[in-house]
Symmetry: D2
Subunit: 365 residues, 4 copies
């Protein structure tokens, strides 16, 4: 079925394969009146662009985005915004190898199992380039959220066994791994050098903090804010786990330690005295920062020898060469942020109809 559309009000539909003509996204339901130009979106795309450090693929892709519709005189019109990044390098190459066997850790086998065949060029639809569309849409969502007072801070929490121990927001963009801790970043780089030497790759953890979200966003039951965040994050290729607040740590805790007491602020507002919950209670935002983490698996494309099966059913040995990231965590940081932004904005838009008095006020009755 159709699996390339995300969102209810702010709804995006992505398309495109790694080595097709381009990658794109249509954003339907973007409110009218937002100032928007290509640069707003390009800034996000550049954060996932390859070739920025020796820990990401050395392929050269400029990934320049173009707005095809939905913006007039510098502002969104309320009609669909079509964005495209045309692929520059589509030259015919020999994909005989990749077409003939199933790469471990990739979707080659499952695509064949589902559809009967696949576009094998560069991974086709399951390539990391698929995230261009959602990242571009996320840039727009994040711009709107900022105007609503909501900001997202996303960074690498750990690379393999190396975890950031301190948090300096200014440090995040100072190192190629987007870690908020310079010491850990240096250790992580050393770890990655060792992985590369062994023709191996590494996983890691991404953390996202959302500030400024008012209380009451999200819905009880099936459309819980945390449930929708979980889906959004797990829909990113290499993600294998999601946790909010204390997450799996809460499973080992006692209620007395895990509960967040309520208190009254100087401004007479209700607030929590701690944030083990990670900013949600009963599926709705509780006024504290929302904090969640995503577990990213190691890049499956490695140069080391692996056992697999050819399409003709023979057991073979392969080793994957080419320009692959030893770790995809740094490039996935902005993708995580984009998916969170899309989810939060949609929840805020849906929340506007929760109370009859707000609706009456909107229509001035």
């Amino acid at each position: 079925m159709a699996g390339s559309t995300y969102g209810t009000i702010f709804k995006i539909t992505t398309w495109g394969e790694s080595h097709g003509k381009g990658i794109g996204v249509v954003i339907d339901g973007c409110p009218a009146g937002l100032s928007l130009c290509e640069d707003d979106i390009q800034a996000y795309l550049d954060r996932r662009k390859p070739g920025q450090s020796r820990y990401t693929t050395q392929r050269k892709e400029s990934d320049a985005v173009e707005i095809l519709s939905g913006v007039f005189n510098g502002r969104t019109t309320g009609t669909p915004i079509s964005l495209v990044v045309f692929n520059q390098d589509q030259r015919s190459r020999d994909y005989g190898d990749i077409a003939s066997y199933y790469r471990p850790g990739h979707a080659d086998y499952t695509f064949d199992a589902k559809y009967g065949f696949r576009d094998y060029r560069g991974g086709g639809r399951s390539s990391g380039r698929e995230t261009i569309g959602r990242t571009a849409a996320g840039a727009i969502a994040a711009k709107i959220l900022k105007q609503l007072g909501v900001t997202l801070t996303t960074y690498t929490k750990s690379i393999g066994p190396v975890t950031a121990a301190s948090f300096d927001v200014g440090e995040i963009c100072q190192n190629p791994l987007y870690m908020p801790d310079a010491v850990a970043a240096a250790q992580a780089q050393a770890y990655l050098e060792a992985c590369m030497k062994h023709k191996d790759s590494s996983g890691g953890i991404i953390e996202c903090i959302i500030d400024g979200l008012p209380a009451g966003i999200g819905d009880p039951v099936f459309e819980k804010l945390d449930a929708n965040l979980a889906k959004a994050i797990l829909s990113i290729g290499a993600v294998k786990g999601f946790e909010i607040g204390d997450g799996f740590g809460a499973a080992q805790a006692n209620g007395s330690a895990n509960n967040d007491g309520f208190t009254v602020t100087e401004g007479s507002a209700v607030a929590k005295s701690s944030n083990h919950s990670g900013g949600t209670l009963g599926g709705m935002s509780d006024g504290s920062p929302v904090i969640f983490r995503a577990a990213i698996k190691p890049t499956p494309s490695i140069a080391a020898v692996q056992n697999t099966v050819s399409k003709s059913g023979e057991e073979i040995e392969i080793s994957i060469h080419g320009r692959h990231d030893p770790v995809i965590v740094p490039r996935a940081v902005v993708v995580v942020e984009a998916m969170a932004a899309l989810t939060l904005l949609d929840a805020m838009l849906l929340n506007m109809t929760a109370r009859l008095d707000s609706i009456c006020q909107f229509y001035r009755r």
Copy 2:
């Protein structure tokens, strides 16, 4: 917005509050021709029924389900199946306390923030009794899955710090905690006794194994099978984390260890030689068992003294009395299984339109 509906083809809508007239669910899109009676559903509901051990609330609730529509002469007709559990004990009680303040770890505050007021009786819509509807629907989904060769095994992986070290499927129903390891179960019970003595509660981890799922179920991009499982599981009240396969462990692993090689079975089928992925690749099932875990937070209702705020804005101390579970993990096991069953069945139904040749064959052209 409407947050009480789940699923695309096999679609359920739940309703009801803890102390209202009843709790129910409407299942729309159930295929015609399934043999179905109340007992099929009751068997699932009984697994979450309170009062079954000293580690669950001692409230007496029979929770007898009634089929109101959609079944004729013992078979489903293809029209909506309406199920209801009427609440037996709705007698007026004094809810003055609970109405006047915000319980830590509960949704009292967020409900007020979103809707302006709340049905405070027994937690209203955010009570654990809300899960009756989804569990009843999950029983039907699981019955269909069984006819399609798909079975689910769900159990308690850990209680607080005590983790099952061995796996004996026959043991799961032999202990009140639904652990597959008798020794761990005994340790966990001792741990819970200590929690109860200290007026405290415990969290834990639930694991679910799905066998028999063919390869290719789920979709690339936003409707990945693992993404939908994550949403389904995080939509359960107390869940704070989800991981599939090696999950957060994969974030610390190397590609060479995390990749699952492919091999050829005696029957000439393609299979994986390990299952670090937990049964999905690129968002689609890969033919291996699907394995995921859910982190459950400790019961927030504890008898120990806690700090909170009254609705009138004063900081107060409370302690919650009454019949509360010291751990909700055992009762949540069947709820996790139900949500997984609903998600898998919907994915299998959606998968039927993936290939043109199958569609032509269906319509015999």
Copy 3:
């Protein structure tokens, strides 16, 4: 697939068969804070209740509605509202006849073709009693619309060849056919007497006028307000046509006559000088009253002899006895109004996110 859910934000799911345990509806997404009791809903249901005149079936059905959830202390809580009408008369009857053949003009054959069998008692799910759920939900939508300044006036425009020539809103409830023209109502009754004498039935046309809708409700492209009204109305059992404004008359008109010029009101507002469009332009309300009509086919259950086929494949003659309406138009008036109300309210709720400045104002940024 699931076809019993309607709406995006204000979402309803109906269930129940003619002779099952009951008929019901779950309304999910109703805004919190609406004053609501059974009487609000019963008033609508009574308008479709049988036995009110000699032109409707003489069956006795009290159709008393019960609120099972979603209302606390007299106000909606924002959580699902479950409504039920329990069927009073479920006594086992001999349905041998109706089970064994396909009634012309009914859904007996198509249900069998789709699902393999059917609940044949009283028409099962395709009975007119199915409309109880949507009418009950429509009563709530209409109550909210009234608070937003939007009112609906629905009536019988014609019965067979007899068309209302004048419009007196006060007359609508003065005659059993709900016609706004006393003379035409008398003629229509005489016509129906003749139909009944000949063991025959009649069709008719229902018209609905919506006042007070602000301009800009509805969306361009696929979610046009008129498109959604058309679906809503055609989803009612016996409806065979829908037209808005001049409708099929516009197909014979010239642009110079069909275009509505714009003018400026005394209050300096933009208004149309005529209303051939029926209140929409480009799929969005234009500030004029929305006017549409529904064509209703004659009741298919007639006492005259008809040719049909038995399930065993023999050509047979039947004549349908029992208490059937010679015309269903009068009872369908409130159903049309209910479907329009549901559609309009949903469109108004969705419209709240059209502009960024309104969203910023809602969140007070």
Copy 4:
């Protein structure tokens, strides 16, 4: 909200404005394995291309479609198919007039009312060029339907007061109005000449016949096949009415004449002896041809003088010059066919999960 997406399984999302960079559509959920190239789609687009006769606009638009994704080695892969028609003539023109007032019969005013401003160039998103996306997608749906044995025949039933009296399928493409009656076509052309002389325009009626649809397609209650067709057709810009089978004629009929008796064919199949219903009963196809009609209003852009209002609130007189169609009916024929094809295909795909035995057979259990 998002209103540019249509369909549940075979889901399309359109984008683009009349004078923007292009017009496009993303088709998500197209089954894998369909042979597809640009020519398949271009054939449909050419049927709505301007400049084909003196009764359509004389603008030159080649409207050449390009496939950007979703097709590999000549077959659909199951992933989103992105189609685009780049606008050739985007040169800056003086739109001062059209920007400054509200054209009668157009969506200028309602766009401003909803979004606060509009892309006024050539009608922006509400231009007839919006239908390029849906027509392109419909071409693919129709190609699949043909492989399932379902064909659509669509034509002009009437132009203004001139109605086709005979039906010769071979004649449809022999006259510029797509009428199945050569005599009526000649009369209609004479009528249009008179309209043009008077600087006026004409409406008309389009009819569509669907052959080969098996019984049981569509769903009871809200997702009736006729309800979804009605929405699909009313979502086309100038459509003001929809009727199926005898439609509004049924409202004047008696049950004895309107009911279609059942009979047994030579091949022992159940069939109807007449088709007043237009091919559906209870919202599901009944095995007869589906027949429906759409009422199209006269082109609103006329050269005759009209009264309207400027954006600054003054009452003014305008006359619209330029290359406008005196009648849009002939060009809308293929758009009606496209929307019907999309609706039918989606209903057929959804129908595959109606019965448990079919599902079990699909998964070979």
